[in-house]
Symmetry: C2
Subunit: 289 residues, 2 copies
């Protein structure tokens, strides 16, 4: 590839923003919109090229928090998708590009007894990132209208109101300075099959496989219906969903890096000014010891 | 540089292990023992070369925890040093080489009122990494025999017993499966002056500067005496201290990556075997959907 290839984060963002009344069957999980290269190697190189700017924005976001702005700026990234869709891969390959000190990752597992004894947002709220941080939710509040619904863990009368509760929760976070970005990693059932077999055919990957993945896989249609409701009912402008075609891991990572970059540019955090007299401190340092 | 240059993690580890009865004035913070290259560019390249092996060990450590070994294996890295010595730089440049999902970073700040109402190890214990993780302490239990001692925040009768309490605490962690590695980032007062002025002369770095750094700097000798006590009294074989010459950031990062690698090789974590019948699961996946 030539070095003149440029990417347009805003193109990716616009192309992958979930439209109103989306039907997942209309979205191609192998699509590669806005991608300017020809394949995996270009994607890896293009993604790496973004890392410097991503790193600078992350540092500015962190540094800016020292000035204690009101409300405190921070970012929350939600990752959802079927098993093997690549939630962990995104954390590793995209968020691994920035300083780990500025990132807080939380993987939500099956709720504990203590968590179940509270409302479903109780454990979520505790993990919201503080000022200056990029928080990443590997699974999230949305599990409570996905697996909980598909497996009928609570009756519809209980999960139905949650769409609106989530919208209100997210709106309240946005009011308190959180920029929310939500990614649905979209893969096909065939791609999932290939990835599950890949894990079973490589002893170094057994640890990533769980027999419990099969009963979930067998309810693919129910999950897609539940995801469609999520994408249609919880897609506020202030907390948008992106559907990332994820059959190609290289496109998935590149696309998310671009959308992240576009949102950081829009947030536009800045290094804070000095909270001290600079010349005075220079003299003090020079005269010290 | 040629590609034939190889590094020896065990050489670095042996060279930088703190000897008995160490005197910091005998250690050169600009030294570069075992470094096979000729400067910063070689160091960056050599450090990057280590990242693949580091990443594999980190993944094995994480994967291994799925087999629930007793005791649960994990690693705790303690970073200590004067202001500007590079604790954050190490986290970014060395631990940024591995999957952020396998790393838990905690920066200990001035204790809160709640923390002060407990024994000094209370807040430390809460941050000990769980099975499979590499935990990083940016400052640590040692602050309670460093700043606390130098600034006389508690009387000697209270901090004196802490050396032994820390040794017992660390021994107990080791018994419970924690591999402990402790790094003292050793810089000279002149290097600190240059770095502080560097922050004051770059508006993008004002946020890293605090006027409170000067009174600490003015007690350099007292801090070195306190560090010497730490290095001499809390240097158990099971939880060793390394004194890293840190005037050169490139050497510092390269050396720590090597010592980390040597300890991971020694831990020797392994991918766990399957907790299921592999052939049965392959059939189940192939027949699903």
């Amino acid at each position: 590839m030539t070095t003149t290839i440029t990417t347009s984060p805003s193109c990716v963002r616009a192309a992958l923003a979930v439209p109103p009344n989306v039907r997942l069957s209309d979205l191609d999980p192998s699509a590669t919109p806005c991608f300017p290269g020809t394949g995996p190697q270009d994607a890896a190189q293009l993604t790496t090229q973004l890392s410097k700017e991503l790193g600078t924005w992350q540092e500015k976001l962190y540094a800016g928090s020292k000035a204690k702005p009101t409300p405190p700026q921070r970012m929350l990234v939600v990752l959802q998708g079927m098993d093997t869709a690549g939630k962990s891969g995104v954390v590793r390959h995209v968020f691994g590009l920035v300083d780990p000190q500025g990132v807080k990752i939380h993987a939500f597992k099956q709720p504990t007894e203590e968590e179940l004894a509270h409302d479903f947002l109780w454990r979520i709220e505790k993990q919201v990132p503080p000022a200056g941080y990029i928080g990443i939710f590997d699974r999230s509040q949305y599990e409570d209208v996905l697996v909980v619904r598909v497996d009928e863990l609570v009756p519809p009368s209980q999960w139905e109101p949650r769409f609106e509760q989530i919208n209100q929760f997210e709106a309240s976070l946005v009011d308190s300075g959180v920029t929310i970005i939500k990614f649905f990693l979209h893969i096909s059932p065939d791609e999932q099959k290939a990835r599950l077999l890949g894990r079973l055919n490589n002893p170094n990957k057994y640890w990533k496989y769980s027999p419990g993945d099969i009963p979930v896989r067998s309810k693919w249609a129910e999950y897609m219906a539940a995801y469609e409701d999520v994408l249609n009912r919880c897609n506020q402008d202030i907390a948008p969903w992106y559907a990332i075609p994820s059959n190609n891991k290289w496109y998935r990572n590149w696309a998310i890096a671009n959308i992240l970059l576009d949102h950081l540019r829009q947030m536009n955090p800045a290094y804070p000014g000095p909270s001290f007299d600079v010349d005075e401190q220079i003299t003090a340092v020079e005269n010290s010891l």
